[in-house]
């Protein structure tokens, strides 16, 4: 029993580090640092994807035959970890980390051939159409209909909470192809070309003022049946397979460590109640130490999952646990960053952040003035956007329901 990496793992880590040192340009790092949500500036993220693709590392988790890497579980983890620690802008997960795995498992040869290479290059960029206005936590209650008409399915309904709907040229979504007694039945997993006639995208203005998510309206949108993944009416099987990937993001601790370091740097430069640096204020220092301790512990929990996966064992209910702990810690850290920002944390200056736009009704100052430092502009927006962590991907209440049943047998 030990917490050390093997020599081979350390060599791999050094290789990744060297690559990151060389290719991660200051402006890419800056895009990572100024992120106000889990999504980086789109342009920077795509630029970084191109650089990774050049190295063959854009989609390491894919099978080698499709362009993935023949890495061990530990190497995958180390690659994620080092990318995060270096401040790389994360890639959108929708294509590479989500629908691609579905295509690889359930796709037709034609689907694989068309989509997978284009996802790698960025030519195809996916958004996700799962939630609907009346189907949130209760995803299986979805009602967007797809009626068969010849070789097509004709889709009518609405999807919501769609990130990057404006940038995406494809959407993967769940639609209802028949009404069955059990609401999980009759759902189909479908790929929709976003340039199809009848689709309207309405950006949602978030609390942060940013337009991160969207609602789409589908009015008799014709989609070829060839775009069904898996079987018609059997989409829930596909969705369940995919849910595991969405929830599995098992390198939360490194990201949280970065956030804690940001808080420490921020608080070191701001005055606390007694005039000394806030970082030396006992109350603030205790909150930060407490968060760091929780991160240290979460890291070991992630290591255990990693170790189980590396040994081919099932991590069980760990994903729900990691989701709860990771998102709640992230929210704690955004609170601390906002507190560290002091009075400046009240200034609304999205022009100093990334992505920073589009922004409903906001005109940046002509002289580009920023009150305080850039991180102080980031702090409130990150705080607002991070509230999503406990809501999406199965709210933390849903995760607790899952654990009550699966971990405790209640």
């Amino acid at each position: 029993m030990d917490l050390e990496w093997s020599a081979a793992d350390l060599a791999f880590r050094d290789e990744v580090r060297a690559f990151l040192d060389e290719r991660l340009t200051p402006d890419l790092r800056r895009a990572g640092r100024l992120m106000t949500s889990v999504y980086a500036d789109h342009e920077a993220s795509m630029r970084w994807q191109a650089i990774l693709h050049e190295r063959g590392w854009a989609a390491p988790a894919w099978p080698v035959e499709y362009g993935g890497c023949d890495w061990t579980v530990t190497q995958h983890y180390l690659f994620s970890r080092e990318s995060i620690l270096a401040g790389a802008p994360p890639l959108s997960p929708m294509g590479i980390s989500m629908v691609a795995h579905v295509l690889i498992e359930f796709g037709t040869p034609e689907q694989k051939e068309f989509f997978l290479p284009r996802i790698l290059t960025g030519e195809v960029f996916f958004c996700q159409g799962y939630s609907e206005p009346e189907a949130g936590s209760d995803l299986a209650a979805l009602s967007m209909t797809a009626e068969a008409d010849g070789d097509d399915l004709v889709c009518t309904g609405s999807k919501i909470w769609t990130t990057h709907a404006g940038e995406a040229n494809w959407m993967f979504c769940l639609v209802r192809t028949s009404r069955a007694a059990k609401k999980q039945q009759g759902i189909t997993f479908l790929l929709i070309d976003m340039s199809s006639p009848g689709i309207e995208v309405r950006p949602l203005v978030m609390t942060s003022g940013e337009q991160i998510q969207n609602q789409e309206f589908f009015d008799h949108v014709r989609v070829p049946k060839a775009n069904v993944v898996g079987e018609i009416d059997d989409g829930w099987t596909v969705a369940k397979y995919l849910l595991e990937f969405e929830r599995g993001g098992s390198a939360a601790a490194p990201k949280l460590q970065i956030m804690a370091d940001e808080v420490a740097r921020a608080a070191a430069g701001q005055p606390g109640p007694d005039g000394r640096p806030l970082l030396e204020s006992p109350a603030f220092a205790a909150k930060l130490a407490d968060a760091r301790i929780r991160i240290d512990v979460l890291e070991v929990l992630e290591f255990r999952v990693l170790s189980a996966a590396a040994g081919g064992r099932n991590p069980g209910t760990a994903s729900s646990m990691l989701k709860i702990l990771g998102t709640e810690l992230s929210q704690t850290l955004t609170e601390l960053l906002l507190e560290a920002a002091g009075p400046r944390g009240r200034a609304y200056q999205p022009h100093a952040t990334r992505p920073g736009g589009p922004l409903a009704g906001f005109a940046p100052p002509a002289d580009g003035y920023v009150s305080g430092e850039e991180w102080q502009a980031v702090a409130p927006l990150r705080y607002f956007n991070d509230r999503a962590g406990t809501i999406y991907a199965g709210s933390n209440e849903i995760q607790r329901n899952i654990l009550a049943k699966a971990a405790l047998g209640l």
Binding site: L204, T207, Q213, Q270, R346, F362, S371, R387, A388, S395
Partner: protein, 385 residues
């Protein structure tokens, strides 16, 4: 021991509540906040002329109604309830509270009552944090004039303001209570650099840079170096009023959340029927009720001796800072994705509650101040045994 409002106070509350319900539209007020003007001047005019709330707490000799902390509480709570962005507490309670304690500000106060004068209190600085008595900006005499040098950060209410109320140090070290002087200046001032911006809670503020700005002798209000004696009680009054505003916000947020939980159905039933969410809303309710009590505590102790007054207002701020966070965050959580947007009122209220959490000092600040004002224990009474 009496928690009832007088008939006049009830009338004040009801007429303001009715007016806001009829005339203060949330969406329109946000549009105004996003505009160059940054506010709705006609609202302020109505506050002065139709509702008389700007003078409600100011002395009769400047045209006010001579009301006190309870009137400020009643007004601030209703403004919070309707999420009014026009900065009543900053201008009237804090600004007016300082001015009415200083000689020579009578005409300005008359303007406040009439709505023609609006005061932006510039207390905080780039290195002050939330500590109002941390003043590094200096004022030195130059002949009959004063010369101000330094910077002020996040001065609230600047596009609306006609006047700036600035602190500057005329002696002592940065955090000394003595040596702080108060200057009242027109907002258009030669040599003053103003960087305006919106705040997260749809208000406006500005950073000021004072680079040897020359002002006349009568810009100094009150005694040189003794400004803290007027500021300290006014800041406590502002804390009490801010607590009341928070209570108003939270009442709306809780009511909206409970209503939403009854309407929103998932898994075939209203989400408000799930026990875990019911208990969460009960905890929100407990936070709101404690904030109401804190509001009374702060308001009704404003007339007490300074340590007791400060202890009560700090207790109130700790309570509402905690409540604002808990109620705001959980309202968002229970609204799900919709709570993350500006589609519903909840998002706007959450932003204001977030600002309130830190405004005039976060919980840790006030918990420390409270602790420092708590008498040390007498030694254990063992003599009796």
């Amino acid at each position: 021991m009496d928690f009832s409002l007088t008939a006049e106070q009830q009338l004040l509350r009801d007429s303001l509540a009715d007016w806001l319900a009829d005339r203060y539209d949330l969406a329109r007020s946000r549009e105004a906040a996003a505009s160059e003007a940054g506010w709705q001047p006609e609202v302020w005019r109505a506050f002065a002329d139709d509702l008389g709330i700007l003078g409600a707490t100011l002395p009769e000799e400047v045209g006010g109604s001579g009301g006190g902390p309870v009137e400020a509480m009643v007004i601030a709570e209703q403004l919070g309830r309707a999420l009014v962005v026009e900065p009543y507490v900053d201008t009237v309670v804090l600004g007016g509270g300082v001015l009415r304690r200083l000689p020579g500000a009578g005409d300005v106060l008359k303007g406040v009552v009439a709505g023609s004068v609006r005061i932006a209190p510039g207390l905080l600085e780039p290195t002050s944090g939330h500590t109002a008595h941390s003043v590094a900006t200096t004022a030195r005499r130059d002949g009959g004039d004063w010369v101000l040098t330094g910077a002020k950060a996040v001065v609230p209410g600047v596009p609306q303001a006609t006047h700036l109320l600035l602190t500057a140090r005329t002696s002592g070290e940065q955090r000394d209570l003595d040596g702080i002087s108060i200057f009242l200046l027109p907002v258009e001032l030669p040599g003053l650099q103003v960087h305006r911006y919106r705040t997260i809670d749809d208000r406006h503020a500005a950073d000021l840079v004072l680079d040897d700005v020359q002002v006349p002798a009568d810009a100094l209000l009150g005694e040189e170096g003794r400004g803290w004696t007027a500021l300290a009680p006014a800041l406590d009054e502002a804390l009490a009023a801010l607590t009341a505003e928070a209570v108003g916000c939270m009442r709306t947020v809780l009511a909206d959340t409970v209503a939403y939980s009854k309407e929103r159905r998932q898994f075939g039933q209203p989400i408000g029927s799930f026990q875990a969410l019911q208990h969460r809303m009960v905890d929100m309710h407990l936070e709101v009720e404690q904030s109401v009590a804190a509001m009374y505590l702060a308001t009704l102790r404003l007339g007490a001796e300074p340590a007791e007054r400060a202890r009560a207002t700090s207790a109130a701020k700790v309570t509402v800072s905690r409540a604002a966070r808990f109620v705001g965050q959980n309202a968002v959580q229970l609204h799900g994705g919709m709570g993350m947007t500006q589609e519903l009122a909840i998002g706007h209220y959450f932003k204001r509650l977030t600002a309130i959490e830190y405004e005039l000092g976060p919980a840790d600040h006030h918990r420390s101040r409270y602790a420092s004002l708590t008498p040390k224990p007498r030694s254990a009474e063992r003599g009796e045994d």
